[in-house]
Subunit: 356 residues, 2 copies
């Protein structure tokens, strides 16, 4: 275990803010960064010098292991501002636990909880103006860790950098998405790193996702790599299938990310007495349900888009359309989740975390 001796957080404030240059009504997701970032280095066996400083470039050797061996993990979470100007996080402990779980699988030393929470809350406080009011507006928060030791030999790094960047995100409605069910490519293997938010899992999906896009589908729903018989998850979302009034979703395994939105949807559904089955969901049963009219909805669940209804899926060159349900499960969970996140409703599960 790493030293948990609390280190003093050094805070270096930017001389001026860039916020005036930002058009908050025209944000491209993930491309604008707030004034400050957090940085902490692992060296000589411990995490050192936690620092909040102005957002800016790094100086890093081209021999750093992250460039060569993809030894890197990340998280994605959001801060929300309520109508009174209070700022909230949503289940941040889940993200903290998950980044350390991801790190472990990638042979990266775990990060201390006290530094994580102090850095996270201080950073959000310092850049609180970057969190805008309004349902759906948020400040996207990206903690990540990368291997910084210089060396082009394939072995774990002895040095790492933990960082947090923040990027304002708009309420966005991209419309319902069309998805392709994977029949050839795959996202992860049994015994692989699919359950970790490892950097390389994402780059690996770009090519097959491009192929799907060329055919008119925005996302791929991955299936098991062995036989492509079972539905797993999408690129950055877990996936739910509503067959009549039952909600189906793949169980968590070492191939699937244990999504915070997924587990929140399951909790909401159970509270509302909706039957949820976490079990292998076969492509054939979903195709069958689509054919006989029992398939009512498919939707993705993830931090970035909260809930994304699926309007069509393709399998074996056939496209199966789904009617949009204004009062379906997807829209209902989306509203329930967003209301909790933005402090517009009760918080029966204790998911909100007040920053200031």
């Amino acid at each position: 275990m790493n030293s948990s001796t609390k280190q003093k957080l050094d805070i270096q404030k930017a001389e001026s803010s860039r916020i005036g240059q930002v058009d908050f009504n025209n944000l491209t997701f993930g491309s604008t960064f707030s004034d400050h970032m957090f940085e902490c280095d692992y060296k000589d066996g411990e995490w050192q010098n936690p620092t909040i400083k102005p957002y800016g470039p790094l100086t890093i050797s081209p021999g750093a292991k992250v460039f060569h061996y993809g030894q890197a993990v990340f998280e994605g979470m959001k801060a929300y501002k309520d109508d009174d100007g209070k700022v909230w996080l949503f289940r941040p402990e889940e993200n903290f636990n998950r980044i350390n779980k991801s790190s472990k699988r990638m042979a990266i030393p775990e990060f201390p909880k006290d530094i994580f929470f102090e850095a996270l809350t201080e950073l959000v406080k310092i850049d609180k103006e970057w969190v805008k009011k309004g349902l759906g507006n948020s400040l996207y928060i990206r903690p990540f860790v990368m291997a910084t030791q210089v060396g082009v030999s394939a072995s774990p790094s002895t040095e790492y950098k933990f960082m947090i960047l923040m990027s304002p995100a708009q309420a966005y409605y991209t419309g319902d998405v069309k998805v392709e069910i994977a029949e050839h490519y795959s996202r992860s293997a049994n015994g692989g790193v699919g359950a970790a938010k490892a950097a390389g899992n994402y780059g690996a999906q770009f090519f097959p996702t491009n192929l799907a896009r060329e055919k008119g589908f925005q996302q791929v729903i991955w299936t098991d790599a062995s036989k492509h018989e079972y539905l797993e998850e999408a690129g950055t979302m877990n996936v739910f299938f509503r067959v009549n009034d039952t909600l189906l979703t793949a169980p968590i395994s070492d191939r699937i990310l244990d999504g915070v939105t997924r587990k929140s949807v399951i909790a909401l559904a159970k509270r509302d007495n909706i039957t949820v089955e976490e079990r292998p969901v076969s492509v054939s049963e979903i195709v069958e349900a689509a054919k006989n009219g029992n398939l009512k909805e498919i939707f993705g669940a993830g931090t970035a888009a909260v809930i994304s209804p699926v309007s069509a899926f393709s399998y074996h060159d056939t496209v199966y359309d789904l009617e949009h349900q204004d009062n379906g499960f997807a829209m209902r969970f989306k509203k329930e989740l967003m209301d909790i996140q933005h402090n517009r409703s009760e918080d029966p599960f204790g998911w909100r975390y007040e920053v200031l």
Copy 2:
């Protein structure tokens, strides 16, 4: 396709060389870099400003996609100096083709051949003092590509950096290696990126390899992710099994790297009338052959160590020892390959490539 309009290579020489500070008899693989490096950026749809410059740090945004999504690939090759002082590469066209194959799978634009070869040969010429004479000494060459566009949204980068670093490597003899056959973890999935030299494939192996090390095994031999029934390859080496006088090795697939050393060993074996079977090799047949004395050798084949004899493998908690064969296939192919690489023998296959 990318523009293939030849761009002029800009060469900026270092003011002085660091070579005097390097102890060439005490090199740690991959940790010392030569005086110069190559850099070329992809922007606005083309590769631009190919430049050789002094080795040094990069200035890069912490939001660059390589840190978050592992969109990066690499190659590994070597330059050798013969006794007359001539410098050679070994089958460089294979590495060039492979990096573009890897790039394609990772949605990275391909790199133009003319710039690759000009940069590679100029770089080796400029740093020729870093290639030392002597069988086994070499200059390890690391071409790589990384996604540099700033943005924390999971989609392919629009900007990339192609680089080449070079690192002097010593003749090294690490002794025979003990390996563990993977029974739980896996390296790659059907339809995944195992056949690409994608950065994330390597970081993903560190944790299970650490577990094997703790048990006294230096490397893992990966098996198919579905059932762990078939032997695939090691972390940075393809693997050969000699059963009596037949050489067995896994066929190339989308899970396995198409190694240059592997295909060279196969060519040498065929020339020498050794039967080579490229076919799925089951764990059970190798265990069986080990038990009844027909398993004569196991060895890894890869650029870094050329050929690595295996002295023992573990499976189902049993360790199977292999006697070292001074006159076995492993040592024979190692000598044949190194003699060709260092211009100490004929080159019947036309594998050598003269740099200067």
